[in-house]
Symmetry: D2
Subunit: 429 residues, 4 copies
Amino acid sequence: MKQEIKPATGRLGVLVVGVGGAVATTMITGTLASRKGLAKPIGSITQLATMRMQNNQEKLIKEVVPLASLNDIVFGGWDIFPDNAYEAAKYAEVLKREDLEGVKDELQAISPMAAAFDHNWAKRLNGTHIKKATTRWEMVEQLRQDIRDFKVANKCDRVVVLWAASTEIYIPLSDEHQSLAALEKAMKENNTEVVSPSMCYAYAAIAEDAPFVMGAPNLCVDIPAMWEFAKKMQVPIAGKDFKSGQTLMKTVLAPMFKTRMLGVSGWFSTNILGNRDGEVLDDPDNFKTKEVSKLSVLDTIFEPEKFPDLYGDVYHKVRINYYPPRKDNKEAWDNIDIFGWMGYPMEIKVNFLCRDSILAAPIALDLVLFCDLASRAGMCGIQTWLSFFCKSPMHDFDHLPEHDLFEQWRMVKQTLRGMVGEKEPDYLA
Amino acid sequence: MKQEIKPATGRLGVLVVGVGGAVATTMITGTLASRKGLAKPIGSITQLATMRMQNNQEKLIKEVVPLASLNDIVFGGWDIFPDNAYEAAKYAEVLKREDLEGVKDELQAISPMAAAFDHNWAKRLNGTHIKKATTRWEMVEQLRQDIRDFKVANKCDRVVVLWAASTEIYIPLSDEHQSLAALEKAMKENNTEVVSPSMCYAYAAIAEDAPFVMGAPNLCVDIPAMWEFAKKMQVPIAGKDFKSGQTLMKTVLAPMFKTRMLGVSGWFSTNILGNRDGEVLDDPDNFKTKEVSKLSVLDTIFEPEKFPDLYGDVYHKVRINYYPPRKDNKEAWDNIDIFGWMGYPMEIKVNFLCRDSILAAPIALDLVLFCDLASRAGMCGIQTWLSFFCKSPMHDFDHLPEHDLFEQWRMVKQTLRGMVGEKEPDYLA
Amino acid sequence: MKQEIKPATGRLGVLVVGVGGAVATTMITGTLASRKGLAKPIGSITQLATMRMQNNQEKLIKEVVPLASLNDIVFGGWDIFPDNAYEAAKYAEVLKREDLEGVKDELQAISPMAAAFDHNWAKRLNGTHIKKATTRWEMVEQLRQDIRDFKVANKCDRVVVLWAASTEIYIPLSDEHQSLAALEKAMKENNTEVVSPSMCYAYAAIAEDAPFVMGAPNLCVDIPAMWEFAKKMQVPIAGKDFKSGQTLMKTVLAPMFKTRMLGVSGWFSTNILGNRDGEVLDDPDNFKTKEVSKLSVLDTIFEPEKFPDLYGDVYHKVRINYYPPRKDNKEAWDNIDIFGWMGYPMEIKVNFLCRDSILAAPIALDLVLFCDLASRAGMCGIQTWLSFFCKSPMHDFDHLPEHDLFEQWRMVKQTLRGMVGEKEPDYLA
Amino acid sequence: MKQEIKPATGRLGVLVVGVGGAVATTMITGTLASRKGLAKPIGSITQLATMRMQNNQEKLIKEVVPLASLNDIVFGGWDIFPDNAYEAAKYAEVLKREDLEGVKDELQAISPMAAAFDHNWAKRLNGTHIKKATTRWEMVEQLRQDIRDFKVANKCDRVVVLWAASTEIYIPLSDEHQSLAALEKAMKENNTEVVSPSMCYAYAAIAEDAPFVMGAPNLCVDIPAMWEFAKKMQVPIAGKDFKSGQTLMKTVLAPMFKTRMLGVSGWFSTNILGNRDGEVLDDPDNFKTKEVSKLSVLDTIFEPEKFPDLYGDVYHKVRINYYPPRKDNKEAWDNIDIFGWMGYPMEIKVNFLCRDSILAAPIALDLVLFCDLASRAGMCGIQTWLSFFCKSPMHDFDHLPEHDLFEQWRMVKQTLRGMVGEKEPDYLA
């Protein structure tokens, strides 16, 4: 059962798509500040969490499995704007100026490579720092070259590619996504309707032996072609859509109702946010992608087919509203209509005044570090055990996703135990 | 491992202290209506919940273990007011008139026995239907006679006693509570300062071989004397304080923060309610008992000693406000101050418009049925596996309570599996 | 200054468009119950409010001016469903069954006349009780005949027509609306693109000397053609869009900010409601009409051109979400971003758990009674003094609307004082 | 009617009691920054508001009456801690560091004089910068000398004294407060039970011809003795208790319900705050003073004796909770139970995330400037026209306070018009 895990020696390159965005700059600043002792990586499982071992003792996860050290990370990436990470972080207005100053030099040293971008996939964005490529295949080639160059220039032993850029427009699964051959054909024929820019990044990463993490709800790696490619190349892929705020709450409250056998008649979720992500999602085509991701969680938790009296008629609605006065400070408001004993109705309202990037940053870091670990442990393809971090956990056609946060957490721990050959502790002991 | 469980044959008497109160009449009405098919016992684990078996199939809990049938229950009890259950339910204004009508006859047939009561332990209450007893010991004797009489009159094979009455004033653990002998001595000497009326009910129940459930936060059975007595008499005891609304929420949200390694700097919880319970809690001495119960949950979940950076300085405050306009419709408002990546603060506000008795009724029923099961399975003393239903899970001095709702749920299932000799299913299979 | 006002003798017919809807049946039931002493007309200015007279004494408004008595009202109207008012009220689920029983006979006696309806103007509605008319002009003729018939059959001296039906789709002001002649031509030519069904009701009412009240945000009487017609026929018209919940709140809070010179950077308003109105507004064309009405209020209160530092950049967004679990119980949630001293930001969140029809019913009744009064006092055309009751107060092109609730209230009192020749009391005396 | 107003020539000394507190340092910093063009005095009526003149034109208030210019103000005051205003402002954590830097020199130059303090009146405070005085009378003498010294040292023509310090403990009106002679006698006899430190400040101010503003709910100038003294010395006094957040909201919402004839059954208001004010109010004796102030507003607005069906049974409860995680960012939560047509209940919840000192600062400044104006206009005693700024408007025994914000605003404007001999514009013109 115990797996052979290669040690985390050498430097780990972390290449972020959207490296100048709010999430990326927040993650990078916090990581750099943490390794200088200027901040704490609050919210990061890899850095702070413990798990109970067979002998019933708690141990830091990073002492259980051989994770890359924050000190060994080199950040880089692509962006549609040419600003360096310091300038970009100032623009994002997530972090206070004084928190940026402590790592100003390091941030200024991070300049984005030109992005692979297609305006049709994110109409609200108008970038200026864009690759020129006549086909999607050429786009891939350029990205692969970028990865190789970065690795050499920064003396990296390994690289992980992380998508922390915007949500692309919604597209359904089509024939071109069903096999690697079909996808490559579509890329070469430059079928820009079905091959998104994010697919080019994912393909390039896998081709270069770099684990790929999808932080947005894009279809991207959620297709058989990519699963096939990842298995073939022995590369882990993970995603999708960081489970940061409202959905995090939902995947905790829904299990509570279920566990307590309380019925649910309606769940209305609305959001206001004013950052670039909000602006992109103001386009109905892009919102559709997000909506599908956010709507999916309740059904698999509630299992309405098993409990029709309780969950057979849940009216679930999700809205996102672009609201500039708030910038990155997303506000979520949920109204949940539940019913109890004899069917009597009750209401719960949750108002979450969150900070989008503050919640997403440690998730992004953890996914990167766990994917690197998985790679060294010889795991490849979809990393279902990382569902814990995702609104829309990837899964193949033979499995259902697990959305319950605490079940997801159990999956993380079981997987880690499996890697090092530990058994589950006996809670009744 | 598998236990011998006596079958649930014959009638089960359920004697409720405070049988005319809002919780009791709601529980009784719903149970009677459910067995006539007029309502559904939403929120009841014993009636609706399933669990996964060794073979990975889901099965209704009531098909896994031999629970008493709702049809075999006979309700009775004590109250400080003489109204029958129909009149009392109308007064409580929890249920709609039309829901009472369907079981009007059955409700009218339930008339309370005179209550064992001491005004000093609940100064806001002025009952008229009260036992006369010169000592606490005589109070016990009268209650024991009541139980025996009820059993004969109603041809019951078994009886469970449930406290669904008000919160008593706060008292600390004292020497008289440390051993059965000391407690009995105090009862005989009529030490009314340390022996509460609820202790008399509990003692009488245990003496008559009836499992005892404490639904309020009263000290009552949470003392070594009662643990000793319950073990000696081979009777299960369970409690305390139904985990119905705000604390239910808290024991789900706190594990979420913990699991995600998000820090917490403050948690302010306030409540408004206007029922008799609210009136009693308007007395600071009675509120103290409740406050201690409600405040206890965070520390054992957060483990501040292990995670000082995250939970070392949580300012936790709980308030309950008597507010008559609301009657039984309790409203809870929580403000939670959390912090994430690099220490940045965020806020969550939860507004729970609940119905106190609607949430408590199925918990009361489940505790009764599970205690009866435990009794038939030969389990006695504190039933820690029933922590799932309680704000302040009982525990002896060698153990810490478990507050995390999902860990508590796992304990319920493990115990039930143990009873029938089933192993845990493999979730990764 | 004092006006000659005809006495309110004889019976007043109140013909409601949408007489089977939630607002109409609630208004009718409450009026009937009030005159039997079974309920109180809470929220009604005409029935309950007082005003201060010149001699500084408070007097009931209905004792200041000669309003029609509730006892003299006869209700009737049109609906796209044939149910009588009792059946319709049960369907609406606004009022408790026991409140309907008290006036069941009277409600059952109210059967709607077939409605003038055009599916293109409310695509979510599928009525069955519809007039057949080949042109808009013929529609008008049938409605006029209905009014005359009702007046005779019910021995009414006067009639008021009230629109309490759904919001029609949005249309801009067009040439056909600019003069009476143009409008009549469009009706005769059956231009169904610019002549809405509600215009037919309004035209018919005015033609029959009946004041017309527009309770929805429809363009309808908000056009020069109708102003011309109302003046020509000497008939009062009033509207539009009952100011019941969220906007009521807004026109009180906005003046507070203004009065205290607090700045506003954003105002996000969302609603969930599940009644027929919510269903109609789920169609973007119909929502547009409502949105325009709801968005208009802030600018005229804030006067951003005068106070650019405070209100020059207010991001105002209004959303309505169809959410069936709530039925008529509309819930509004406002988030207001304000700023104070030195520009520091603060937030206000208002959560209004209201009942749409309970709030609208007294407004509808008051508008009817005040329009009848205005008619007897010889006032005609737009009744700006009734802005107090409306989200979108009607106004001609030479005037701005007044949205501040307290300024509107002052206008009501000044107008009433004017009618009876009273001067304003001196508040400093 | 027009009054002779002395011009605002020369320098105006503003002496603040609690000059190192959050409110004072915020007011001072903002004023200094405003006159340097570094910030805007948002929320200040004197600096920003306009009023409509007889000719229906809007004019800035500061152009209607001769107010002192911000440039002519010299700040000073007393505090129980010796820190200069820059240090104190940093400690208060209300304003961002960068906002303090712009006026650092000016702030550093403001050092508090030793405070007149009595620990029994604010038990949670432990100051170190305290006057020594054997009697209250001596305390007064020292304060008078302070005022005179400040005036000379800073070349001030006029001085206003502003109480921006903590709430003192609750005391009822007693015989010693009924006349100037009795009060002076109590001071000389050092009756520390009935003469609070704040009374010493007030007495000293009046004696030195300086208008006195009471920003807290202290009894202080709300007694016949002070009214007599103020009249005798021809000095204006104003207060009490800045109407900044929750009560501001209340005095706007209550008039809305009243104007619309909506009933109210309950109003529950709770607050969390963590600044020094919150700490002081955590003592029940001090909270009592605040509670009385906050509870008073509803009755005079609702006039339950006139509208018993609507307001005859309002359950009003106010709570303040010390909650350190929030510091100066007070959060208020109101739940209002209203009822409408036929008595149907509805609920409104208001959550105000405010900044205590940001809201209070412009009020404090306005009260100072208007009192200085009043003094120059020959007005003395209670300034009822400044009720607009106060939770508990001062009033003698022959008058009721006016709490409705919009009526209060009308009083401000009428008074200003009176000063300059303007008539009210005709709103119907």
